[in-house]
């Protein structure tokens, strides 16, 4: 994705492994207003599939993008309501 996202907040879960990236993403999203975009930085390779699956199965969130940046996986989740 070439366009720059308007990131509201960044959550750093680098080093944490399953289930913490998903659990902490959920807690961080709960604190945000509708339309906010949360950036999640993780090093757990499973977070690519897990955050995708979590966003798909959870009401009120939408996965905007996922990027691999060296050893860091960057996830962008929008709160939809």
């Amino acid at each position: 994705m070439s366009e720059e996202l308007d990131i509201t907040e960044t959550l750093d879960v680098k080093g944490a492994s399953c289930p913490m990236p998903v659990v902490k993403t959920k807690s961080a999203i709960d604190e945000l207003e509708a339309d906010a975009i949360l950036e999640v930085l993780a090093t757990d390779p499973g977070s690519m599939s897990d955050i995708d699956g979590w966003a798909e199965g959870t009401a009120g969130v939408e996965l905007v993008d996922q990027r691999e940046d060296g050893d860091v996986y960057r996830h962008y989740v929008r709160k939809t309501n």
Binding site: G15, A16, S17, C18, P19, M20, V22, V23, T25, K26, S27, W54, G57, T58, A59, G60
Partner: protein, 198 residues
Amino acid sequence: MSTDTPSSGEDGVGEDDLPEDREELVTRLAELEATVADLEAETADDGKKMTIIATKGTFDMAYPPLILASTAAAFGWEVVVFHTFWGLDILHEEKSRDLKLSAVGNPSMPMPNALAALPGMDRMATRMMEQRIDENNTATVEELIETAIDQEVELQACQMTVDLMDYDEDDFYDGVTVGVGAATALQHMAESDVQLLV
């Protein structure tokens, strides 16, 4: 075929009835649509429920129920974990910090059972696993319990086994539900979309 036998459609009885019944059909259709909408609402993803029955108290068996429960709660599911028999040790504040991995009968252990049965082997296997968990930054059992409670997972301690093991309500983490039995567990299982026995 006699003429006074009600025909089953060959002379178009159904079609003759249709116009008169149209209003009734429209009403019936509206009712069915409302029922479908209700059912769809009931089965929506955000309304899912899960019940896990945790029966094991070894170090490795403490993880799956806690990880699944915390993750399901992150999906917005309503989660109950019913702990019974050795599964109670996961909720026992003191014992949960000292759960053991069994070296005997574990085909994944890099040693024969005859060696694994020697004194101290369970402790050694447990230490090795604890070290790996630390190195990998995997959450500890205690952290997972706190996470689950924070996310409003209902951790239940089976009253019959609490009495059997001679445990006290105060032995468990704050937030653990006591005074529940098989009927409570079954009730949650019947209402759940996912039921697991670990």
